[in-house]
């Protein structure tokens, strides 16, 4: 298992300190707001993650070493979840990324319920797409 980065550990501390859902939601919105904007030109059909009812775009910067993903969503809370996912994989190589237990990561953040098996939340589809992109590296 990969060691958590300092920023990842900070995120856990922050989210675990939330006692109420409102605080968690506000934190998630803040995280989402910090996600790097994806230019409209990159919000293309090709970069769209299929299987989400809410539109999510995911790109892998093929030049970057280690691999660097960019993600965007129209929904702000989902943007927050994407930001947390990107935070967790920051600086890891392809093999390390694939080895990450994402369920565990969100459980540590107290956000397990956001990983619903339902299609309405696209996070699972995002993970599958991430692995596909890494496989094609």
């Amino acid at each position: 298992m990969n060691q958590l980065s300092t920023t990842a550990q900070q995120a856990i501390d922050e989210f675990q300190a939330c006692e109420q859902w409102e605080q968690r939601a506000r934190l998630l919105l803040q995280r989402g707001a910090q996600l790097q904007e994806l230019p409209q030109t990159l919000r293309t059909e090709d970069n769209l993650v299929h299987g989400c009812e809410t539109r999510v775009w995911l790109l892998l910067d093929r030049e970057a070493v280690p691999p660097r993903f960019q993600a965007a969503s129209e929904a702000r809370l989902l943007r927050g979840l994407l930001a947390l996912l990107l935070l967790r994989i920051e600086g890891l190589d392809a093999e390390q990324i694939t080895a990450i237990d994402v369920t565990d990561w969100f459980a540590q953040l107290g956000l397990s319920r956001q990983l619903s098996p339902s299609r309405s939340n696209g996070l699972n589809a995002v993970l599958i797409r991430m692995r596909e992109l890494l496989d094609n590296l």
């Binding site: 859902w21 409102e22 939601a25 506000r26 919105l29 009812e53 809410t54 539109r55 129209e74 929904a75 702000r76 809370l77 989902l78 319920r113 956001q114 309405s120 939340n121």
Partner: protein, 400 residues
């Protein structure tokens, strides 16, 4: 908001949700079940089971009798004539797929199928795929600014090539009870078959197929407080001969050799394989229970809930889709993504639906990526709405 539901106590699922602090406002997706249905289901299994229409043994006869009694009882609920046919399906979706295939051999390239712009995918895709396969024209009847079917325009679209008119009696997005009699009689005059999708409407008003002059009517048990996996296809006497057998298997043949077969007429010829016997019997029991209640009181209660829901949403400046008058309201909050709102309502134990509601073309035509939908049933009460509005206010405060 004092709108108590005297029927709430009969729904164990709603009471269980209440203990979990969950408010069920997604009955348009599926309705909770009354104790009478659960009892009928348990009783059916407890007394020992047998397959229907097959065996000569006593349990088999008893099962067949109960099954066919259920058919008569459900036909009575539909207010069907004795000469009409009631075919059991898996649900509305299967009913419409059955029709699209069982009528297909009558259709030639250039013939028209007419549907409304607000159809659920279940009443769009079977016709769309049939049209693609056979070179037919799928005409989409437009809505007016209220999100209602424009009946005059619809009638004007009918032509001598129109063969099938398939319309939902109540949209699962707009929540508007559509009056269809003028369109049905116009369609009949030119010799088109008429199909009514009653999936959403049937639970809010008992179907009356003496009055509703369609050839076919479909609905699903699970949306009418009944069990999953059962649907009804009503076929009027005059329309039954048009149907060609569509699925093949056990207990639908009169005679069979290796190279040929002769099939039974409807309904059995359209129910191959073992039916969902227990669920069909339990559905009949559900409907009998429903008919023992004061239907006018239920309608009045649901209308009061709907008015309160609409008023509360309007007061908060929500953007409402169309002019709903029944059962449900779909809406968006200005500048807020429906998925964000749905998530925060979910956090607070409010079960509403968010997304495109299996009506992607409709949402696209309205320029919307999605919407939230609150839908009501007889067991909802004023407290449910109050909790919903409190949760909505809280969510909006966080998001805006």
């Amino acid at each position: 908001m004092f709108l108590p539901s005297p029927w709430r106590q009969f729904f164990p699922g709603i009471l269980a949700f209440a203990e979990q602090q969950q408010v069920w406002l997604d009955s348009a997706a599926t309705a909770q079940k009354p104790q009478s249905m659960l009892d009928a289901l348990a009783q059916h299994y407890q007394q020992g089971v047998a397959n229907v229409h097959r065996a000569q043994h006593q349990p088999g006869e008893r099962a067949t009798r109960a099954f066919e009694n259920a058919r008569s009882s459900i036909a009575k609920w539909l207010q069907a004539d004795a000469q009409d046919t009631l075919i059991f399906t898996k649900g509305t979706t299967e009913g419409i797929n059955l029709l699209s295939q069982a009528l297909a051999h009558h259709l030639q390239a250039g013939d028209e199928i007419l549907i409304s712009a607000y159809e659920h995918h279940a009443n769009l895709l079977p016709w769309q795929q049939l049209a693609l396969a056979r070179g037919l024209i799928l005409k989409v009847l437009p809505m007016d600014t209220d999100g209602h079917l424009d009946i005059d325009q619809a009638i004007a679209q009918l032509s001598t090539r129109s063969r099938i008119v398939a319309i939902s009696a109540l949209s699962n997005v707009v929540g508007h009870k559509q009056s269809l009699s003028a369109l049905l009689s116009a369609a009949r005059k030119i010799g088109a078959w008429t199909v009514i999708d009653g999936a959403q409407a049937a639970v809010h008003e008992r179907p009356n197929l003496q009055q509703l002059d369609c050839d076919f009517f479909v609905c699903s048990a699970h949306k009418v407080y009944g069990p999953d996996g059962v649907g009804l296809l009503f076929a009027r006497e005059r329309a039954v001969p048009a149907l060609r057998h569509w699925q093949f298997g056990g207990e639908m043949v009169r005679h069979c050799d290796y190279q040929h077969a002769e099939f039974l007429p409807a309904p059995l010829g359209f129910e191959p394989g073992t039916p969902s016997t227990a669920n069909i019997i339990a559905f009949a029991a559900t409907l009998e229970w429903l008919q023992s209640l004061d239907s006018q009181a239920i309608a009045t209660h649901e209308a009061a809930l709907h008015a309160a829901l609409l008023q509360g949403l309007q007061a908060r400046g929500m953007q409402i889709i169309g002019s709903p008058n029944c059962a449900l309201v779909s809406f968006n909050a200005p500048q807020v993504h429906h998925a964000d709102l749905a998530l925060l309502l979910g956090e607070q134990g409010i079960a509403v639906r968010a997304g495109h509601h299996c009506a992607m073309p409709l949402l696209h035509s309205l320029g919307l990526a999605g919407a939230l939908r609150v839908s009501l049933a007889m067991y909802n009460n004023g407290d449910d709405l109050q909790r919903f509005f409190a949760a909505l206010d809280q969510a909006l405060e966080i998001l805006q």
